[in-house]
């Protein structure tokens, strides 16, 4: 992540912003806003945007935001203008699509389905990229503004703007499933993170006092990193199933070859390396002469650890925790493959049924969760280690 006021960041973000903004404005115009299908079995076809007043209002807002974004790309003052314009464009685009589909669907039809067309999807994607580029220009992380955009979308959804979209209908039909999947996903991520911390903290402490062990630990941890995650889950199935058979008490506790256990263990195995590496480098941030001065003043080993090493290393350690947490949220998607639940269940069901809406129903909350985790820990890190 570029540090605040990093000039390299400015150079990296600024040239990308203008073409991204331009393409985002043109994409829906050229590739279509909405698509409509008479029922679920027929593939949807692009439809023209109805000319009702609310649709036109949203359309005007979209183009206005797009223009402001272009201007902000050319001269980024004030620094938040580009990001605000991009968020505005995202919301206006989504509103255009939502209101447009509501007007385009035949009244009273329950089988007809409407969805954003390729142009609208592409526009949203390009705007998200523009948002990230603008965050880089500002010298910050894009997680917070992206999260803001998602919250805005959620507010529009709550207001009923997207009710006609097939995605919203899918969601309404599966509200209970979705809630369960989100809770399961959070549980999986948190459990893997805690398990990984439980291993990484003592491991890095040991490697810290016995540097000769560090090489061995890191070799093992990076060895695991090379195994594809699904293969690792698969590898865990046999031994865990054997364990559960041998010790029925373990089975009663929920451990088994399939289910959340192999998923949590497998995900945790991936998180150990970034966590242990981060803790270890955090412990080593304090320079030798500072440690010597601390010892010379009469600080105990404990005092050196708590008063010097940890405060100076907190930024690095929190950075590692942030990376691992985001990874945990992402990897938890794969838990569904071994029957572990979570939002991956919706995604893989959707893939199996070729139901795009179902896939998206799983993907959007995953995206929102990882953005929220990333932004939350970034804020915490800024507070703890400015």
């Amino acid at each position: 992540m570029p540090s605040p006021h990093c000039p390299a960041g400015r150079l990296a973000g600024a040239p990308a912003l203008a073409p991204l903004a331009l393409a985002a404005i043109l994409a829906p115009l050229l590739l279509g806003w909405i698509s409509v299908a008479p029922n679920r079995l027929v593939s949807p076809r692009a439809a023209s945007l109805p000319g009702s007043a609310p649709v036109l209002a949203a359309l005007v807002l979209f183009h206005l935001s797009g223009l402001v974004l272009l201007l902000a790309a050319w001269r980024p003052r004030p620094f938040w203008l580009a990001e605000a314009a991009a968020i505005g464009a995202v919301l206006a685009l989504a509103a255009t699509v939502g209101l447009g589909t509501a007007a385009a669907l035949p009244a009273g039809s329950t089988v007809a389905r409407a969805a954003p067309a390729a142009g609208a999807w592409l526009g949203l994607l390009l705007l998200a990229l523009a948002l990230a580029a603008a965050a880089v220009v500002r010298g910050g992380t894009p997680a917070l503004p992206l999260l803001g955009a998602l919250l805005g979308l959620a507010a529009l959804g709550a207001a009923g703007v997207f009710d006609s979209l097939s995605l919203a209908r899918e969601m309404a039909g599966r509200a209970a499933d979705l809630r369960g999947a989100i809770a399961g996903h959070l549980g999986l991520s948190l459990a893997s993170l805690l398990l990984a911390l439980l291993v990484a903290v003592p491991l890095s402490a040991l490697a810290f006092v016995r540097p000769r062990l560090e090489g061995a630990f890191l070799a093992i941890a990076s060895g695991i990193q090379v195994v594809p995650s699904i293969a690792l889950f698969g590898l865990l199935i046999a031994p865990l199933a054997a364990l559960a058979t041998a010790f029925p008490a373990l089975r009663a506790m929920g451990l088994g070859g399939i289910g959340p256990a192999p998923a949590v263990i497998g995900i945790a195995a991936y998180l150990v390396l970034p966590l242990a590496g981060g803790i270890l480098s955090g412990l080593r941030v304090a320079p030798d002469d500072l440690l010597e001065a601390a010892r010379g003043q009469g600080l105990s080993p404990r005092g050196v650890l708590l008063g010097v090493r940890l405060p100076l290393g907190a930024g690095v350690m929190l950075g590692a925790l942030r990376l691992a947490s985001v990874q945990a949220v992402g990897l938890s998607t794969l838990a569904a493959l071994v029957g572990g639940g979570g939002l991956g269940t919706l995604v893989f069901q959707g893939i199996g049924q070729l139901a795009t809406d179902l896939i998206l129903l799983g993907v959007f909350p995953i995206l929102a969760l990882s953005l929220a985790v990333d932004a939350g820990l970034a804020l915490l890190a800024r507070r703890v280690a400015p």
């Binding site: 002469d289 500072l290 010597e292 001065a293 601390a294 010892r295 010379g296 003043q297 009469g298 600080l299 105990s300 005092g303 008063g307 010097v308 405060p311 100076l312």
Partner: protein, 308 residues
């Protein structure tokens, strides 16, 4: 009193100290002088047990330091290093308060002590108390380092090249501050340097090290006398030993009673080296000494006094 008794230390194959025996009297400002790698820092660090000698022992007021808990020992000894090592996440005041806080002093006492110390090292307390160390110049940082070392009023101060990283002007300022603090507090100070001028400006005693051994020890005028060891001759510019010796002698001791009307005025406390430079500057062989009763210094007096 600090006493080293046949102290030896090896780092693996490197013999850093070879049977060093040295006594530093209470209230002395003893300068450890020597070339790089001669073992000065290692010897200094045996006092606060940052280095445990492989053989021999170190005593403080007659007590073997090896018998004292290292943390308690260090809290009773001020320690100043070249890189200062202020805690970057703490304010100046918190840095200075490190040891008093470890000793459990109450807040009011710590605050009063911090302000008194900042004033003592020449920093206006109100302006510096809350500054983060990153905003200090090198000289200001080392003043804070000195204040931190003095915080709990330890009887002994260990200083490892405290002023080596500073520019000459700032270095002289801090040397003057240290001389003043030494005179006011009477602490026993052991200071490491490889700068001969610094040694002469500060030392009440000089100990010279080479290759892990103590090669000379005594008052500065003795150590810089004709019998000076080769290391000392190597450390001063060729032929300049005699001039450096002048810097170890007080001008007042070579003066004769009686006024010298019209002669340039030599400030009180000046050394013979200052007197010689003043004579060269004015092209005269006679100086008037500042102070009462009137005294004067002649070239003959200077030469007579500096002759070994």
């Amino acid at each position: 009193m600090i006493a080293f008794e046949a102290v030896s230390h090896r780092y693996g194959a490197v013999e850093a100290l070879r049977e060093v025996s040295l006594e530093v009297p209470s209230g002395a400002l003893c300068v450890l002088l020597g070339e790089s790698g001669s073992g000065k820092s290692t010897l200094l660090r045996t006092v606060n047990r940052l280095v445990e000698p492989s053989a021999g022992r170190v005593t403080l007021q007659g007590r073997d330091v090896a018998a004292i808990d290292p943390q308690a020992l260090r809290r009773g000894i001020g320690y100043v290093i070249q890189s200062v090592g202020l805690f970057p996440h703490r304010s100046v005041a918190e840095n200075v308060a490190t040891v008093p806080r470890l000793l459990g002093w109450d807040r009011a006492r710590i605050e009063a002590r911090v302000d008194a110390l900042l004033a003592m090292v020449g920093l206006e307390p109100r302006a510096y108390r809350d500054r983060p160390p990153a905003t200090l110049s090198g000289g200001q940082a080392q003043r804070v380092g000195l204040a931190r070392a003095l915080a709990a009023d330890p009887p002994v101060l260990l200083m490892d090249e405290p002023f080596s990283a500073l520019d000459p002007g700032t270095r002289r300022e801090l040397q003057a501050a240290l001389r003043r603090i030494h005179a006011e507090t009477g602490k026993t100070i052991l200071l490491v340097t490889h700068d001969v001028e610094e040694a002469l400006a500060l030392a009440s005693r000089v100990a010279v090290m080479a290759g892990g051994r103590l090669v000379a020890e005594g008052v500065p005028a003795e150590v810089f006398g004709p019998g000076a060891p080769d290391v000392v001759r190597r450390m001063v510019r060729a032929g300049a030993l005699a001039f450096h010796r002048l810097a170890a002698l007080d001008a007042a001791a070579a003066a004769a009673p009686g006024p010298a009307p019209g002669a340039p005025l030599l400030p009180a406390g000046a050394r013979l080296s200052d007197a010689l430079l003043l004579m060269l500057e004015h092209g005269t062989g006679c100086l008037a000494l500042e102070g009462d009763p009137p005294r004067h210094l002649t070239v003959a007096g200077l030469l007579g006094h500096s002759a070994p």
